[in-house]
Every structure is written in C-alpha cells, then in structure tokens.
C-alpha cells in the first residue's frame, strides 16, 4: 500500500484537478459544442429540404413564367419587426396590422409568381413558404447564438442554446414532417376543430362571413346554432374573431363554444378530450384577445372542448386516434349546447384550427 505516497500517483490525481480548475469551462464548451453542431447540421438540412420542396412544388404546380428560385429565396429572408411594446396600449391592433400586412404581402407575392392561381393552391404555397421561412429563421438564430458563444469562448453563453435546442428541434422536425401533408391537402391534427364543425355544416347553406371564414346556421333542439370554421379545404385558419364580431352585431348570442387542438402535457394521452372555459385558440394572441373582448363586452360565456396532441401531431397528417375522436367531440358539443342554453337561445360554435383538407 505504498502507492499513497508515490509521487507519480499523486501527480496522476492532481494533474486532472488542475486541468479542470483552469480549463473546465473550455472542456465543457467543447463537449456541448459537439452536440449543438449536430443540431445545427440537422436544422440546416431541414432548411434546405423545405426550400427545395417549396421551389419544386411551385415549378411543378404553378407553371410560373420564369424561374421562381430567386424570388422565393428573396422572400425567405423577409423579416417582420414587431411593434414597440413599451407603451402596451393598443399593441394588439398594431400586432394584428403588422401580421396581416405580412400575410397580404405574401399572398400578393405568390400571385405574382402565377397570376391564375386558385385560392386553395395559394393557401398551400403560402403555408409552405411560412414553413421554409420559419425553418430558415430557427437555423439562423441557433447558429448565431452558437457562433457568438464560440467566438467569445464564453461557456455560460452557450447554456441557453443547449437548454432550448431540444424544444426547437422538436418544432423544426414537426415543421419538416408537415410538408407532405400540406402538399397533398391532407387534414392535420390541428384540423380536428374544423373537422367536427365542418361535418355539422354539411347539409346547411354556407356563406363567407369574413376573410376565409365560413358560416352556416342550423337549428338544434329549438336552439339556433351559428357554425363557424375557416373556409376549407385550403390551408387557412380564417378570421374567427371578425366573424364572431359580425354575428354578435346582428344577433343576441347566449354562449360560444370553441373546439380546438391543444398541446398535451408530457404523460398525457394523445387524442384525449377535455372540456373547459375560456377561448381555446392559439396563434400570436390577437384573435384570442378579440374573442375575449367581444365575449366580455356582451357578457357571453365561452366554453371550450380541446383534443390534446403533441406539436408534431398537430401539424402533420391527422393520426387515427385523433380522427376517431371526431364523433365523440361532436356529441360532446351537442351535450354542451343542451347543458348551457335554454330553448330559443343562440350559440356560436367555432371549429378553430387549420382547415387544410377539411371542407364544409
């Protein structure tokens, strides 16, 4: 047991300690860099793949007069500067205006590629453009954060990237996987709300009440139901807030029921259905704000039914489990109408979500 006092053994123990004390952060930076580099490489692959898919789709389906590659590449670099929120008064209006201006610009940009394009095709290309643009932005931001940390040799700077990367990868992979569904016009997991309401609208007369939003009026157990959903089967979410405002302006509404897909928590079952209160609608928040505002002003209770799913399930082809819930959710909607309204009253039922592949 003379090893304890052996100077060579002591050196073997002490050297790594000294090494880790002075160079620990750099070693950690090296290890973490390897993981992040792999992620960035994957993100770059997604970005290039989505761009190629978009260009090929436009070339094959839109018959553009000239090569659209340059125009599309230019568009992918377009950015949106969100309004200043130091003074939050009126910020929702400003955000709505900015986002809608961008949407209008995108639509006009696509129309310039192919003037005779149909609305369904236009929505499809618009969605593919948004996916490619988002993947480009994610790659750019992660790459920037990584390179900055490396340049500064600053380990703490790389930690936020390491922490957020798995979530970003999940979103990016979901976006990449959603491309085939959008290209072929298949319904998405997020389309469960429009699917439920779309079937209820089938035999009723439909009208377009606001931009890309369809309305049908039906009678159910002596109650008047206003059925709202985005106008399918194109890839759009419509403008349910504007539509609700128009309905409330002309009618006395006693309840609003919203059906939407919602992100499930880890450990929760996919396609499980839950009921609750409040506006079930995602997005950047402007529509949710407007719906809540209308409901509060007119003292209308909002009920909601959600179908839980993961990010990937929400934006890729609808899974069997989610599709199988459609009839169950529809019967729950009818139950909710009976439970919360009396005969002669009126209810607005909104199928929230992307209506790709779901007509009415």
């Amino acid at each position: 047991m003379g090893d304890d006092t052996n100077p060579l053994m002591m050196l073997i123990w002490i050297l790594p300690i000294i090494l880790f004390v002075f160079y620990g952060q750099q070693i950690q930076l090296l290890v973490t860099s390897g993981e992040i580099k792999k992620g960035i490489k994957k993100l770059n692959g997604f970005r290039l793949n989505s761009k190629t898919e978009l260009i090929d789709y436009v070339k094959d389906n839109l018959n553009p007069a000239s090569d659209p590659t340059k125009k599309i590449e230019q568009f992918l670099d377009y950015f949106t500067i969100m309004p200043v929120d130091m003074d939050p008064g009126g910020i929702v209006e400003k955000v709505r205006h900015t986002v809608r201006s961008r949407e209008d610009y995108t639509r006009n940009h696509i129309k310039s590629l192919s003037p005779g394009i149909s609305d369904v095709e236009l929505n499809r290309v618009q969605t593919l453009l948004e996916i490619a643009s988002s993947l480009q932005m994610i790659h750019k931001i992660v790459n920037h954060m990584f390179l900055t940390a490396k340049k500064q040799k600053n380990y703490p700077l790389i930690l936020p990237v390491q922490m957020i990367l798995p979530f970003l990868m999940e979103h990016a992979e979901a976006m990449k996987s959603s491309i085939p569904a959008f290209k072929t016009g298949q319904p998405l997991g997020d389309g469960i709300g429009p699917m439920v309401v779309g079937k209820m609208m089938l035999d009723a007369e439909k009208e377009i009440i606001s931009f890309q939003t369809a309305l049908a009026k039906i009678e159910y157990e002596k109650r008047k139901l206003f059925l709202l959903k985005a106008e399918g089967p194109g890839s759009t979410v419509g403008r349910p807030d504007e539509a609700l405002q128009k309905i409330v302006d002309d009618n006395k509404i006693d309840a609003v029921i919203m059906i939407d897909a919602a992100l499930k928590m880890e450990g929760e079952d996919s396609a499980s259905v839950a009921r609750g209160f409040g506006a079930a609608i995602g997005g950047i928040g402007t529509e949710k704000f407007q719906i809540e505002h209308i409901a509060t002003q007119n003292k209308i209770p909002i009920f909601s039914i959600i179908v839980k799913q993961s990010v990937k399930e929400a934006i890729t082809l609808m899974s069997k489990e989610i599709a199988d819930q459609a009839d169950n959710v529809r019967s729950q909607v009818y139950d909710m109408v009976l439970e919360n309204t009396a005969e002669g009253q009126s209810v607005v039922i909104i199928g929230v979500g992307n209506t790709a592949g779901v007509p009415q």
Partner: protein, 60 residues
C-alpha cells in the same frame, strides 16, 4: 441510431356508405377530400362519403 426503427407514416382514407353505414379503409390517393363522394359501396352499391383521412405510423 443503431437500435431505432425507421418510421414511415402511411395515409389511409375511410369511406362510409350513406345507406348501409358500412365503412371501408383503403390507401389514401391524391385528390381524396373529407366529406366528398367516393366510390360505390361494395355491399349495397350506393355512394360512399369520405369519413376520415388519417395516418398510421409503420415501424420497420
């Protein structure tokens, strides 16, 4: 990954007969749209409606 299986999503269409209410599952084909008329029912010959379009994951 060495042990992870390759996952492929296969798209299916479910047609439901408006008369006898029998359902039939088949592969999705380009142009299938929910709630639209599809082929004739193999049991009673009446028209079927596309009831569902969904994907199933195949692990290989």
């Amino acid at each position: 990954m060495i042990f992870s299986k390759e996952k492929t999503t296969l798209a299916y269409t479910v047609e439901k007969c408006t008369e006898c209410e029998k359902s039939r599952k088949r592969d999705f084909v380009q142009g299938d749209v929910l709630f639209t008329k599809s082929s004739n029912c193999s049991f009673c010959g009446k028209v079927t409606i596309i009831e569902k379009i969904f994907g199933e994951i195949l692990e290989r």
